[in-house]
């Protein structure tokens, strides 16, 4: 059946049903019938039958109507993208030997005039109503679609009529399209997905909906339209789907993925809201070759639709078979008639098998029991380190793991992972990627781009990406002074010049030369930046790659949260330094009882594990205590009493206030005289972002510091964390950057504030404690959120232990409390890292009842833990964050008793192999 007859039949059948809708405008099938018939007549008047009519327009109902008119006309419907560059426009007109160009915009009309081809402007034609006599066209070509030829010159696919009815029937049946359903018209008309959108919808009597273009981008407009109106069916590429707003995705009832291989990430997202279909089909096989509904993710692309059959072709033997793995060959009358333009050898993909038309797709598939699984493009198969690697698979795997869009692009022999920057450095991302993939699947490098470009087809535009990345790496020109500088260094070391794109090893350099270059470059760009860039280069040195990585690191450094925070802290610290002397001078301090003068201790964190112990030790001293807590209520003391079993009378000299009260006192410059401050109150949460820590615990710390100044404290003991680092250095962005997690960073910042008290003559001690244990029965609840004991418990349940780097630094809570109190008693030992005892892996294994064979690499262990369903996920995340660093590096044994052993109830000392008596 000819396309024009098919359409006539469709219009007659559905008649008064709504056929096409856009904002404020709708057409019934009958209306569309009359309108497109009239416009087809207009085309026929201007264009000889069988010649191609180029329809230049998209994303509007008007363009759809003209497309339908072109399909019904005696000419061959040939949609063309309006966004082409002038040269490309002229090439396309020439290749198509167009008889007429229908322009939906003025600009295209100007171009058509320049190309010397007859043209119509749709605005001039308007909506004619007169019905003209139509002659049948008789052309074997139903429509032609532009595709890119290998020479860069446009090429057309001529599609015949044979597959159209099968296409329409299959779409209706498999996608379950019913009359009245709303089907999204998204595709550019120049892309043949629009053919299945239009014909599939109309054949089933459903309504085609064209969103109104009211946003800067078409995609944005569609996203907004969907969020507002939803749709019953959308046919989109996974790349487009990934770019829709979540609100839009939720309102798609059925999604048919087409145009690209569907990855697991997109499937997982889609299946939450929609019925999911996966279609596969090249333009050369009338849009759609196979289609399947997916309820779980598989690379399956279904079975061939009516009128097609599939064979797999083994390129090595030349055999065709009906099962196995190989190049997919599509056989059937829906196979296109051939290419127009392009090189002669490209025609070879069209052949005849057993008297039927066949198309060699270039896609690798597995055909099993008639069902097809897509493996990737044949030319996306690469051999690396002796293994056959399918880049499409790796890409899909990575985008699922990373939960964002990625592309693997080949640049010569190099495989580049391209993705959008999200704040992580290339090195960090590469480390993760490497931990998931075997060496031969891992990309050689990572390139960040602002956005991943889409081609008109809605597919990821890998050519554009490739150009962009290549430009990025080759962009440095020899005149670039920076490039010059690096090349000079290389020349000095090697004794001869090298090409900036060549590995120094290929240029005769040795690893010695490489390190010499590294040292010299470090003098110019800084040791850390250069070392990071070298690590990213995987210790192969190519000048342009080095510069790229160096700048990548620069960009990240500029954006680094550590620097931003440090600037903020510096400003605040300057203000604090100015304020503290004023507070000390101007505040009126009151003491109630003369015998207690100057003995009051301000204590925070009493409801916490350590603060509770400090108070426990403070009570017998008979000193007045001002407890500052977040609630400010006396319940804190009741709980403390229950926990430690004190008498109510023990708390006679203890007073509880809230941080709000304290702030008021400081601001009013009036409050009790203090002797010392022990600041233990801090929210221990390794997952809290730094911003929250700044607004919470850090702000409270600043307040306590101000109070210490205002109320005359002579000493201040601050409970910091060993994870803030082993060395006490002045606060700097670099020092902050060296600390892995936000909790430890915030402690480091607090130390900076606390140290400001030295200016007003207050003795300051910061104690960086390791993991603090020594829980008694009343303290057990504090272990609930403790990542480390959680980890050991989980290891015991899983019978597997992650390989921990270095040692685990542990403190005993009573010892630590004594140290803190000694400091405010004037027996300060100075700021120090407090680690009473370290534990090594062997001992931890003992405590978990495990053996060395139960040790797993951390990544594997976390996978196991996550999969086991036994782990509390936030706790697991805290473990992961806490294990991010390199571990404690020096063993320590200041106390004799086995702190962890007591805690875990395995008091016996872990066996230490080879220990001498």
């Amino acid at each position: 059946m000819q396309l024009s007859d098919l359409l006539t039949d469709i219009f007659r059948r559905h008649h008064e049903r709504p056929a096409l809708r856009t904002a404020g405008r709708a057409w019934t099938y009958a209306e569309l019938d009359r309108l497109t018939n009239a416009l087809a007549g207009r085309i026929d008047r201007e264009c000889a039958p069988g010649r191609r009519v180029l329809v230049v327009g998209e994303h509007s109902a008007e363009a759809v109507i003209w497309a339908l008119a072109a399909m019904r006309s005696g000419a061959v419907h040939t949609p063309m993208s309006p966004g082409l560059p002038v040269d490309r426009f002229e090439d396309s007109v020439r290749v198509a030997q167009a008889g007429l160009v229908v322009c939906l915009d003025r600009e295209s009309l100007v171009r058509a005039d320049k190309a010397g081809v007859p043209a119509l402007y749709s605005g001039d034609v308007g909506w004619p109503t007169e019905v003209t006599e139509r002659r049948p066209s008789g052309s074997p070509v139903a429509y032609s679609i532009f595709t890119s030829g290998s020479t860069g010159v446009p090429k057309l696919v001529d599609v015949g009529h044979g597959g159209l009815l099968n296409l329409c029937r299959s779409l209706r049946r498999l996608l379950d399209i019913t009359p009245g359903e709303q089907v999204l018209q998204f595709a550019s008309l120049s892309f043949d997905a629009s053919i299945s959108e239009i014909l599939g919808t109309l054949y089933a009597g459903a309504t085609l909906v064209v969103p109104v273009r009211d946003q800067a981008s078409w995609l944005g407009s569609v996203s907004r339209h969907l969020a507002e109106h939803g749709c019953d069916l959308a046919m989109l590429s996974p790349s487009v789907y990934a770019r829709l707003d979540d609100a839009a995705r939720r309102r798609i009832r059925k999604i048919e993925f087409c145009g690209e291989a569907l990855g697991k990430a997109e499937f997982d997202r889609a299946i939450q809201h929609s019925r999911v279909f996966n279609a596969y089909g090249p333009t050369e096989a009338t849009v759609c070759f196979s289609l399947a509904e997916l309820t779980s993710f598989t690379p399956a692309i279904g079975t061939p639709i009516d009128g097609f059959r599939a064979l797999v072709h083994d390129p090595e033997t030349g055999d065709h078979s009906t099962s196995g793995t190989g190049e997919l060959v599509i056989v059937g009358e829906g196979v296109a008639l051939g290419y127009v333009g392009g090189r002669a050898e490209e025609q070879r993909v069209f052949r005849t098998l057993d008297g039927e038309r066949a198309y060699y797709t270039g896609d690798r598939v597995t055909l099993h029991d008639g069902t097809l699984s897509y493996l990737g493009r044949i030319d996306e198969q690469v051999k690396r380190l002796g293994h056959r690697v399918n880049l499409a698979h790796v890409e899909s795997h990575l985008s699922a793991r990373l939960d964002r869009e990625v592309a693997l692009v080949r640049l010569g022999e190099e495989v580049v992972l391209v993705t959008t920057a999200d704040g992580a450095t290339e090195e960090a991302l590469m480390a993760r990627v490497r931990s998931w993939l075997p060496a031969w699947e891992a990309p050689d490098r990572i390139a960040f781009v602002d956005t991943l470009p889409l081609a008109t087809s809605g597919k990821l535009d890998k050519n554009a990406l490739r150009e962009r990345i290549a430009a990025g790496s080759g962009g440095a020109s020899a005149n670039d002074p920076e490039l010059r500088q690096v090349l000079d260094v290389v020349t000095t070391v090697l004794g001869h010049q090298i090409d900036p794109n060549t590995s120094i090893f290929d240029a005769g350099g040795s690893s010695l030369a490489m390190i010499q270059i590294q040292v010299k470059l470090s003098q110019i760009y800084g040791e850390q930046a250069v070392e990071a860039a070298f690590a990213a280069l995987d210790y192969d040195f190519v000048v342009v790659d080095f510069l790229r990585h160096l700048h990548g690191a620069d960009v990240v450094r500029r954006e680094s949260p550590a620097e931003t925070v440090f600037r903020q802290v510096e400003t605040e610290l300057a203000a604090l330094r100015a304020e503290l002397p004023l507070l000390r001078r101007e505040t009126r301090r009151a003491t109630q009882a003369p015998d207690q003068a100057g003995r009051t201790v301000l204590l925070t964190g009493v409801s916490g594990f350590i603060g509770g112990h400090v108070l426990d030790q403070l009570l017998p001293t008979g000193r007045p205590v001002l407890v500052v807590s977040t609630t400010g209520s006396d319940r804190v003391l009741a709980e403390h009493r229950a926990r430690f079993g004190h008498d109510a009378a023990d708390y006679d000299l203890v007073r509880v206030i809230g941080y709000g009260d304290l702030e008021r006192w400081v601001d009013q410059r009036e409050g009790p005289a203090l002797d010392g401050v022990a600041h233990c109150g801090y929210q221990v949460n390794h997952l809290l972002p730094l911003d929250s820590q700044m607004a919470g615990s850090v702000r409270n710390t600043v307040l306590v510091v101000r109070a210490a100044a205002a109320f005359g404290a002579r000493s201040f003991a601050f409970l910091s964390a060993a994870s803030a680092g082993e060395h006490f250095e002045p606060l700097s962005a670099a020092a902050l950057g060296a600390v892995a997690d936000p909790y430890s960073r915030s402690k480091l910042i607090c130390e900076g504030y606390v140290n400001a008290l030295a200016d007003v003559g207050c003795a300051v001690d910061c104690y960086r404690a390791g993991l603090v244990y020594g829980h008694q029965d009343g303290d057990r609840s504090y272990l609930k959120d403790d990542w480390f004991t959680g980890l050991i418990a989980l290891a015991r349940r899983l019978r597997a232990m992650p390989r921990l780097e270095g040692y685990v630094p542990v403190c005993d809570v009573r010892e630590l409390s004594r140290t803190l109190l000694a400091a405010i008693d004037g027996r300060s030992s100075g700021s120090a890292v407090v680690v009473h005892r370290t534990y090594e892996l062997a001992e931890l294994l003992h405590h978990a009842g495990l053996s060395p064979t139960d040790v797993l690499p951390p990544a594997e262990w976390f996978e196991l833990a996550r999969g086991s369903g036994q782990a509390h996920l936030p706790l697991l995340a805290a473990m992961q964050s806490a294990l991010g660093g390199r571990g404690w590096r020096t063993p320590q044994r200041e106390v004799d008793h086995d702190i962890l052993g007591t805690l875990f109830g395995t008091p016996q000392e872990a066996p230490r192999a080879g220990a001498r008596a």
């Binding site: 931990s435 690893s511 390190i515 230490r912």
Partner: protein, 526 residues
């Protein structure tokens, strides 16, 4: 009171100031290493120590030409200066070899080689044989090795040992750093590596007088004598000797076996004891029996022929079985000659499929292909030991590059019950070991294409399928931390060697057989 060396005191072999291993013993290869590797290491270090400090810090650079003790600049500089006469003497030999290889031999293209003997430089005159290679056109040569050892270029006064405590399992890479006294607890002693004094020390149980005698003969007085004495502790009570049959993996490629009272040790590499924090249950020197009747060496790579272990166990060893080498070339010096110079008196060389009765067991030498950078090296063999009914194959790093070889071997030797196979499927480039011996360096791509690879999954699978064993053990992977002294592998779970060996283990287990990748220690049979 009797005294024995403390368990944690390492005695490291030193040759010409460097960590001693096979290619530093024969003078001709020592000359090559000193000039082609060590000189450039020290020159670059002395001109810019920062470069070495930077390199050592980076894990990826491990095993490269870096001085690890980079902070001891003055000490290294003065040692280097003092060693100049030694370098000069070896330089004569180096130049003579270069002259033969680059000037004399290339002039001959098939004509009579007699005149060559007249023009040989004096350092080599009377110590070489020349001949044509396979193409009958390219002249080649071999060393008459015993005469090389007898020459002025082999000097036992260049040999030393360095005493010092080991504090943890992991050992620092030792092949690129001069062996000097860097810490107060290290002691460098001038003594030939074959000295019976060393056996006396390693055997232990020295009387006060013997210890004093050794101290004196080492020329140690005052503080140095005191330090030396601190390496000893009261001799432990001898424990009863075990006698039962056992097959025990003791780390890397080292396996111990006792069968009907005869003891065997393959590719000895042992760890130390007596320091805290070591891996539990590892097999240390202290776990060895009094007597090792047969010591078997598979090939001349430093992780299989570790001087440090060899000299320490020498006094216990009866016979050493080694692969026969007939090349006497630079890249393939005779293993027998090396072991004899190292103080082993009873060395037996065997060739492909030779069979020997060794006490209660029978030993068969099996061909070993690959893993030697396609160099003409014969000193390599697999060992098949028949313990009564059971046969165990130690294939070491043999690569199954000729897929039908093991099938053919199987036709001759029959089924094998247990197979130990190395699967370091991506090894170092050949130049990492052999580079200093090459006349002209290979370009990088060629060099990289000739890696010292062990079997990958497919190759190992073919071996296993051909020999049809009940048990397959992947070993010799350098997974034990103490191998760091001579190896530099940075394993993670994605390392091809790990991936490949995981696949093999799975493959064998899927067949219902036993398989595992061994690490640290494993008792396989009692």
């Amino acid at each position: 009171m009797r005294y024995s060396l403390r368990q944690d005191i390492a005695v490291e072999p030193v040759i010409a100031g460097w960590y001693g291993w096979s290619y530093l013993l024969p003078p001709q290869t020592l000359a090559r290493f000193v000039r082609n590797r060590f000189t450039s290491i020290i020159d670059s270090y002395l001109s810019d120590p920062q470069v070495h400090a930077t390199a050592v810090r980076q894990r990826k650079m491990h095993g490269g030409p870096w001085v690890h003790a980079y902070e001891h600049y003055d000490r290294i500089a003065s040692w280097y200066q003092a060693a100049a006469p030694q370098r000069e003497r070896l330089g004569e030999l180096f130049d003579a070899i270069r002259q033969v290889e680059e000037e004399i031999l290339p002039r001959y293209h098939g004509e009579c080689l007699d005149p060559v003997y007249q023009e040989l430089p004096s350092a080599l005159a009377g110590r070489l044989e020349v001949f044509y290679g396979r193409d009958n056109r390219t002249a080649d040569y071999r060393f008459i090795e015993p005469l090389m050892y007898a020459s002025e270029y082999y000097d036992e006064t260049w040999q030393q040992v360095r005493f010092g405590p080991v504090t943890r399992d992991a050992r620092e890479f030792a092949l690129t750093t001069p062996m000097l006294e860097y810490t107060p607890d290290q002691l460098l002693v001038d003594v030939p590596l074959n000295s019976p004094l060393l056996d006396l020390i390693f055997r232990g149980g020295l009387t006060e007088a013997e210890l004093a005698d050794v101290t004196a003969r080492f020329g140690l007085t005052d503080q140095r004598a005191e330090l030396f004495a601190s390496y000893f502790e009261p001799a432990p009570q001898p424990t009863g000797t075990a006698t039962g049959d056992v097959l025990e993996y003791v780390g890397h490629a080292c396996v111990f076996a006792r069968h009907d009272g005869t003891t065997f040790l393959v590719d000895p590499v042992l760890s130390y004891g007596g320091y805290p924090g070591g891996a539990e249950h590892r097999f240390t020197f202290a776990d060895l029996p009094e007597r090792i009747d047969y010591l078997l060496i598979t090939h001349n790579h430093q992780d299989h022929m570790l001087f440090e272990t060899l000299i320490r166990i020498r006094h216990r060893v009866g016979t050493v079985l080694i692969p026969k080498s007939s090349n006497a070339s630079l890249v393939d010096p005779g293993l027998g000659g090396i072991l004899r110079r190292l103080g082993f008196s009873h060395v037996v060389e065997v060739d492909d499929l030779d069979t020997l009765d060794c006490g209660s067991a029978q030993v068969v030498a099996l061909p070993f292909l690959g893993e030697h950078g396609d160099l003409r090296i014969r000193s390599k063999t697999g060992w098949l030991i028949r313990f009564g009914e059971r046969s165990v194959l130690f294939a070491a790093d043999s690569t199954n590059i000729a897929p039908t070889m093991y099938a053919k071997v199987a036709e001759v030797i029959g089924r094998v019950d247990t197979v130990f196979i190395g699967m370091e499927s991506i090894g170092a480039a050949a130049s990492w070991i052999y580079g200093p011996l090459y006349g002209t360096p290979l370009d990088r791509r060629t060099d990289q294409s000739r890696r010292l690879n062990g079997s990958n999954f497919q190759q190992a699978k073919d071996i296993v399928d051909a020999l049809d064993p009940d048990e397959v053990y992947v070993y010799a992977m350098g997974l034990e931390p103490w191998l760091g002294v001579v190896m530099a592998i940075d394993y993670d779970e994605n390392h091809p060697a790990i991936v490949d060996s995981d696949l093999l283990v799975k493959h064998v287990r899927d067949k219902g057989r036993t398989a595992d990748r061994l690490q640290l220690r494993r008792t396989l049979r009692r």
